[in-house]
Structure formats: C-alpha cells, structure tokens
C-alpha cells in the first residue's frame, strides 16, 4: 500500500476535521423488530455498489422485539472487515440507549438522531444532525400501520446525502433488497428521497466522513456464513438433513431448505432428491444423521453449544461404530444458555473430546464465508473418508453477519465417498472384515443396507475386526489402537493451514475462524505503528498438521489468538507439542461476546511485548503472559 495512506491515517488521528474517506464505521442504534434490517442492508449494499469495501455486523439481544439492537457498518478502503471498536457515525433511533450511545463516542464523531431525543445537549465535541422522522414519514407513507417500518429508510436517505452515497445506487440496492414487492419499493424509495431532501435542505456537512467511489468490489457478493455453508452442503450432494432450531445455527438449515427446494427438486417428477426433517431435539437430529449415514446417505445437522452437549452420547457411538456424520457448530457464548446472540469460539475443547471414554474428533474451522462454502464440502468427504463425525466450527459472527466476498467457484472435483466395499475391491481384499485395517491407515471398508454387499451388525459395544461382538481384551485393544491410527491418518487430509512467514519476524501469530480478520488488521497496525513484524499461521483444522511445528520453530514468540476464556486451542496444542515448543507460546484472549477487533489484539500483544499501552473501552477479557507456568 502507498505510504501516503499511512500519512493520511496519522493525520486523522491528530485532527478529525480532515476528510476521512472510506475509512470509518457507522452504527445504527434501534430496537429489534422495528424493521430496521432492510434499511441497514440497503445502506450496506449501496456502499458496496460504490466499489468500497464494507462489512456489516448486527449486535442483537436474545429476544424477538423491543430491545436495543446495534447494527454496525464499516467502510474500509484497505478492505478491513473486522469489527472496528470506535464508532465514527451514530444513527440514534432508540430512546432507551441514545444517551449511553452518545456518551461513549469518541470526540469528533457524528450523530444523526430522532429530533425529539434532544441529544445535542449531551456533548459539545460531536457533530449532531437532528431529523424529525415522524414528521417526514407521514406524507410519504399515508398508511399509518406501515410507518414504523418505512421510517427507517429515511435515515438511509439522510446518510446518503451526508456521506455522499449515490442515491441512484441506494435505490438500486433497495430494489435488490425488496425484489418483486413493487408497492414496498415505491414506499421506501419515497422515504429515501424524503431523507435525502431533508438533509440537503437542512444540513451543512460538518463531519469529516465521506464515501467516495472506488473499484474494489467488482463482482463481490454479500452473504452470511450460514448461507454460504448451506450452498456448500448442497454442492456436496447432501441428501439427508435433520435439525433442531437454535440460534445462531437455524439460518444455516433454513437457507439450505430454500436452496434445496429451488435446485434439488427433480424437474421431471417434482420430487425431492433430499429429505430435510425438523427433529424433536438435537439428540434425535444427530441420531437421524447417524442412521442416514449408516444407510449410505450424505447426512448433516447444524446446531450450537447446547446441542453439542446433548449430542455427546451419539458422537461417541459414531466414533466407535465408525459412522460418518457432518455436524455444524455455529458457536455462541456459553457456558449453558450463556449469551445466545453473542459470538465465541468456546466449544473447541468440548468438541475435540466429545463423549465419554477415549474419543477424538475431527474439526474444520472456516474463517471466511468462502471457506464456509468449501469446508462444507470437505466435511462430507472427510466424514466418509474416515467414517467418523466431522465438526465444522463456525461462530455467530461468521454465520449470521454480512460478509463481503468474491463469488464462489464451482467445485472442481467429484465427491469422495471413501472406502466402500465393492465387488471389485472385494477380490483384492480377500476376506472382508468391517473393522479390518487392510491398508494400514486404520480405515476399514464399509458396506451399507441395500448396496448388495455383505451385511454386518453395527454396534456401540465391543467388537472385533470382523464386526462381531467381543469382550476379548486383545480385540478391544487392537480396535482402539486402530482408531488412533485412523485419526492420525486424517492429518494428511484435513485442510492445511494458511501460512505467511515474514522474513526476520520474531513474532508469529496463530489464529483461526473469525479472529482472522482482526489479526490481519492488527498485523498492519503493529507494522505501521510500532514497526513490529509478525508472521501468521491460520489454523483450519484439528487434528494438527506438520506445518504447525515448522511455524513455531521459525519464531521466538508465538501468540495464539482466540475468542474464548480458557485458551482452548492453545490447550489442544499443548497436548501435542514438545515442551520446547510450548515455551514459545503466548495467548491473546477476547471473550466478551463481541467480535474480536484489531485494536484489542494489537494492545494486548504490545503489552505482552513490553510496550506501554493504555487499555480503553469495555474489557475484552484479555488474559496474557507465559502460558506454560503454573
């Protein structure tokens, strides 16, 4: 990137009167159920259409209507799409939180607010734009019942004017959002215009924040991770889906239903090439998935932490009877019910060892919506390849928020159903045994009902290589040792990490999932602000691959950055790393339920590196220091 940008950034920090172009965040504070989502998405897409990198995050309460909700839109010419701690431009629509919302702003921020709230008296160091929403909405929306919804579109119009967003593009975005609903489009377009006109007539621009056209978003899409994963599942040829609603995973299955109905119904017959069942709970969901996989289908379920806990017993059955299963865990804040509408990476440890006895499970961890799409496909192949449950660990931030991404590319390989017994390989195999390790990789050959091959009796109790019931000590040990071999074989097949080793960087970062976006930005901050170089290892799967030790060996200090309290990934690594390597590990933790942001990472790392940093804003629950010691 050009040094001028850095210079510009510097200036922004000193004087906020300078124009700030395509590098600020907007927060819309409203109450949920007030229909502001349409307005927010239109605003988001209109900026995208201007060619400016953008991202949208919704911070919503665990109820249906009437409680405070904050929707944050970040524009970033450098393409940063992680959460930005500071709010630069506030739209205050919620009387209940308006005061606190305004008081926590940094000096120089701008506030569009509902006039009756009289917020302008609260502070001198902000720019205020009062808007009489009710007055404005009446004329454009005769039907009083609809006003509550339409009213929000007015702030889009106001923002368009104030920020310099092309009104035509915003109308285009509106059309996209509302699609066929002609009446709604006209109504909302009217409101847009009303907002724009009012702003034009009333306000003189006093804040520095502007959106200027760029060319950074050509062909980009806006999508939530759950929808992306759903598309991946459909492309993976999933045939059986069993699910039980739970935030934040419900929308994965619900968008999958939508796509399947559209693209997986037999044109000729009108019949479905899939079955999607809303089960009575998570235990039944996984049971159906296991039953379907055992009978040869590609089956999946999606859930969140509480569902993972309930699935423990069945996960052990699938591990031990060696039945494929694909389970999406869209992680939310635990323990227990916790904060159901906040994000976390807190289920890793519980999932890795889910179920009693000696068990280990494969986990895939996407960082982007694109990886939600690809890893959904990997998950089905790996589950069948290794005849075991595969957990895809999303989180609420990835699953439910709006992410900008390149379009997805069509799969370039057929699906891989793993080792199925066939008439052909039966010959080469000689005598078949369901749990016989023929190839030395611990993976046996399987059959399923109706495939015409040799039947067997599957069970969660002790069995020998032939699949017969056995309580013999040696049969048990042989089988358990093979399961370890099989698990180790998977290391060569799970998605490899994405590694960037920076010449003579002494510090390495290890991150995964949504932390990725804050990490990338933080690395720039460290380099640009403190001249600290860092390498980066983005983990994408458990069990770990050889690249891990190579990376650690190449750096003096390695920071593992996670969104949980107990440094769960660090713990999993300690179980496998040599003591020497563990010595190099440090931990950066962010677990307050908000998506991790770059500044928190930067501050935490700098502190651990011995720099002076003033912590500010809400505590993020960062824990620090050597992790090896007692």
């Amino acid at each position: 990137m050009a040094p001028t940008d850095v210079a510009l950034q510097e200036q922004q920090r000193t004087s906020s009167r300078e124009r700030v172009v395509n590098d600020f965040s907007i927060q819309v504070a409203t109450v949920n159920g007030s229909g502001s989502q349409t307005a927010n998405l239109v605003l988001l897409r209109s900026i995208l259409l201007m060619g400016v990198p953008v991202s949208g995050k919704n911070m919503f309460p665990s109820n249906i209507a009437g409680l405070p909700t904050w929707y944050t839109i970040r524009t970033s010419k450098r393409g940063y799409i992680a959460r930005k701690k500071e709010v630069d431009f506030l739209v205050a629509m919620n009387a209940e939180t308006a005061k606190e919302d305004v008081l926590t702003l940094d000096p120089g921020a701008a506030v569009v607010y509902d006039e009756p709230l009289k917020l302008n008296t609260l502070r001198q160091d902000l720019v205020f734009y009062p808007v009489p929403f009710d007055k404005l909405v009446a004329p454009v929306c005769p039907d009083a019942k609809l006003r509550r919804l339409v009213r929000n579109m007015i702030y889009d119009g106001v923002l368009a004017k104030l920020l310099g967003i092309d009104l035509a593009l915003m109308e285009k975005a509106l059309g996209k959002q509302l699609g066929k609903k002609a009446k709604a489009v006209t109504l909302n377009a009217g409101a847009l215009k009303a907002g724009w006109d009012y702003a034009e007539a009333t306000f003189t621009k006093q804040d520095p924040f502007v959106v200027e056209p760029m060319n950074e978003t050509a062909g980009k899409i806006l999508i939530e991770g759950n929808a992306a994963a759903a598309i991946g599942c459909m492309m993976a040829g999933v045939t059986v889906v069993a699910w039980y609603p739970i935030t934040p995973s419900s929308s994965l299955c619900e968008s999958l239903i939508g796509y399947m109905k559209k693209y997986r119904v037999d044109k000729a017959t009108g019949k479905a090439t899939f079955a999607i069942v809303q089960a009575e709970d998570e235990i039944a969901s996984l049971g159906m998935v296991i039953g379907a996989s055992w009978a040869g289908a590609r089956a999946m379920t999606a859930t969140a932490g509480p569902g993972i806990s309930l699935m423990s017993e069945f996960a052990g059955l699938a591990y031990y009877a060696e039945v494929p299963a694909v389970i999406f865990d869209v992680q939310r804040v635990g323990p227990s019910t916790g904060l159901p509408t906040r994000t976390a990476q807190g289920d890793l440890l519980a999932t890795a060892f889910l179920s009693h006895g000696d068990t280990k499970h494969i986990m895939l961890i996407p960082s982007s919506v694109e990886e939600c799409y690809t890893m959904a496909q990997d998950a089905f192949d790996l589950a069948e390849l290794f005849q075991t449950p595969v957990f895809v660990m999303l989180d609420l931030d990835l699953g439910m928020n709006n992410w900008m991404s390149d379009g997805f590319t069509y799969p370039n390989r057929p699906i891989n159903r793993g080792k199925l017994l066939t008439q052909d390989n039966l010959k080469s195999l000689g005598e078949w045994g369901r749990y016989k390790d023929v190839d030395g990789d611990g993976i046996p050959y399987r059959t399923f009902p109706g495939d015409g091959m040799t039947p067997y009796f599957a069970r969660g109790s002790g069995h020998n290589a032939k699949g017969q019931y056995s309580e013999r000590p040696d049969d048990y040990v042989d089988n358990m040792d093979r399961l370890v071999r099989k698990f180790d074989s998977s290391r060569a097949h799970v998605p490899k990490p994405v590694v960037e080793v920076v010449p003579d960087a002494k510090i390495g970062f290890i991150g995964y999932g949504t932390s990725h976006w804050a990490i990338g930005e933080s690395r720039d901050q460290l380099r640009e602000e403190m001249d600290v170089k860092t390498s980066y290892f983005r983990l994408r799967a458990y069990p770990f691959t050889d690249e891990l030790v190579t990376f650690i060996d190449a750096h003096e200090r390695v920071y593992i950055i996670e969104q949980n309290r107990d440094a769960q990934l660090l713990q999993l690594m300690k179980l496998e790393l040599s003591p020497e390597r563990q010595m190099r590990l440090r931990s950066v933790l962010h677990y307050n339920g908000l998506p991790i942001d770059a500044r928190s990472v930067t501050d935490d790392v700098l502190a651990q590196e011995g720099f002076e940093v003033a912590k500010k804003n809400v505590r993020t629950g960062a824990s620090s220091g050597m992790t090896g010691g007692e």
């Binding site: 806006l222 069942v277 009575e280 009902p449 067997y456």
Partner: protein
Amino acid sequence: MAGKINRIGLEAITYKGGKTTLCAGCGHNAISERIIDAFFEMGVDPRQVIKLSGIGCSSKSPAYFLGGSHGFNTVHGRMPSIGTGAMLANKKLIAIGVSGDGDTGAIGIGQFVHLMRRNLPIIYIIEDNGCYGLTKGQFSPTADLGSKLKTGIVNDLPPIDTCALAIQLGATFVARSFSGDKKQLLSLLKAALSHRGTVMLDVISPCVTFNDHEGSTKSYAYVKEHDDPLEELSFVPFFEDISVDYEPGSTQEVTMHDGSRLFLKKLEEEYDPTDKITALKRLHETARRGEFATGIIYIEPDRDDFLTQLNLVDEPLATLPLSRVRPGPEALEEIMEGLR
C-alpha cells in the same frame, strides 16, 4: 420346516441369526423365533431388511434373527431416530426395530412419541417385561400398579400404556400380544409386514429371571390368566389367493397396503379397531379390570406414511448419482448473482 423353501426361494435357516445369549426361557427368545417365521413365510428378502435396537436384553435380540440382514444395535432409547434416518436414506428398506419397555418407556419415551407421530414405515416391537432385565430387574415405566418385585418392593406409579400412547399420537397399526401366544403373534407380524406406516407392537414378554414370580403382573402365569384377545385373527398374504368365507357381521375384513387381507373374527359385539376412540376406551376398560387386551387394537391401513409426505424421488437417496445431487454451474452462478 428345514429344507422348505419360501416364495423367493430361500430356506427357513437363512432367516435365523446368531445363538442367543439371553436366559433360557426368556420371552424375548420366543419373539425372535416368531420374527424368523414371519419373515420366512412372507418371503421377505433379508438383504432389504434393517434390524434396529436400543440397549437392553430385548435390544440384544436382533443379533439372534435374520443373520443375513444389516443391523444396528444403537444406544439406549434412541433407536427411533436412527431408524428414521436410515429410512430417509433408503425408502426401499424394510425396518424392524426391537426395544424394551425401559428402552422405550423410560429414557426413550421422547423419541417414541415423535416416531409414532411421524408414522414412519417401521415395525416397532416392544418386548415388554415390566422391568429392566439387563440391569437386574428394576421396575420399568410399564410396570403395573401394585406389581411386586422379588425384593418385595411394590410399584406405586401408574404404568405407561404404550399402545394407548401410540394410538393417540398417530401410529397406524397398534397391537398387543404375548410372547407365549405363537399363533396370534405370528399373524400380527405377518400383517405388520403388509402394512405401510408405523406398526407399534407391544409384546408382553416375561423376564424369567427377575419378573416371573408370584405377585408380578408380567409373569407367564399372570399374563396367561389375564390375556383378553379382542378378536380371532387370520391373515391371508397377497401372494396366496384363498377365499375366506364368514357369516357377515361376525368378521371384519381389512385390506392391507400390499393387498394382503386380514380377517378379524369378533369375539364379542362391536369392537371396531379402525376407530380411535373405541380403541382408547377399550384399552382403559381392560386395564381397569387388570387385564391385557391383545390383538389388533387400532388399524388405519391407508394414511400416508412419513416418507410419502416428504415426496421423495423413487430411488433411494443414499445411492443417487452425483449428477442428481449436485446442481450445475448455472445454478451456482444464479445464486451468486442474487448476492451481488
């Protein structure tokens, strides 16, 4: 009947399973034998059958019949969900599930309720001995009020009537029998194989080791005493064209999904097993008398089963080729366009 061949050319022996590890005299073993007979006589292809169970002595029994079929001995009380998934994967399979009164009535009652609601095509058998055999004889939720354990402990909770529950929840073929009644049980199993939808078959099956004593209401003696058959059953499979004549009114004829015919010779006036309310009423009355109504309690031969409602393609989902389960590039492009 060794050597005898059924309509698909298989010998009876093909339908046998492994050697039982259950107690000598256990009712469950008798049920396994009837299952073998029924599948043989109906000429069911073992390769199309899946045997499912939960955990318990009863749930061990699928290992002791139909050795030529796939089987899955799952976990305690969760067989219904496994069976549902398997049938979704391959609608052409014939599913027979064996559970126990503990496996179904205690830990499994939730999945049982939802299985019955869905009317999934499966033959669900409860081998009902009123106790937890495999854990050494504690009371199960089907133990009757006042029934006594060997230890002298008396059950003071009302029993769960799995038949009444199944009828109320939507099962379309609900029957009760006794492991000791070979003829009735065999006819019921054959009829079950001709039904499309959930068959819930509660078979009282005494536990000779823990619950066959004086004072138990699930002992051989007690059950023989208190067995109250609703009708005299005769079953004529679709592949045998026999004409049965009976004086009208005395017998009810039911045509099964596969064309087989079931003749219910009334043993008393006016019991109509196609009417839910009559059925429930009857169950409560017999229970009040401390008796067991056996035979076909409720039957609804032609309601759509779960898989039909899902409007699935004719082929098993499990083996659809990639071409049919992965939409083409144009589909993906259309989706992407919608997101730009």
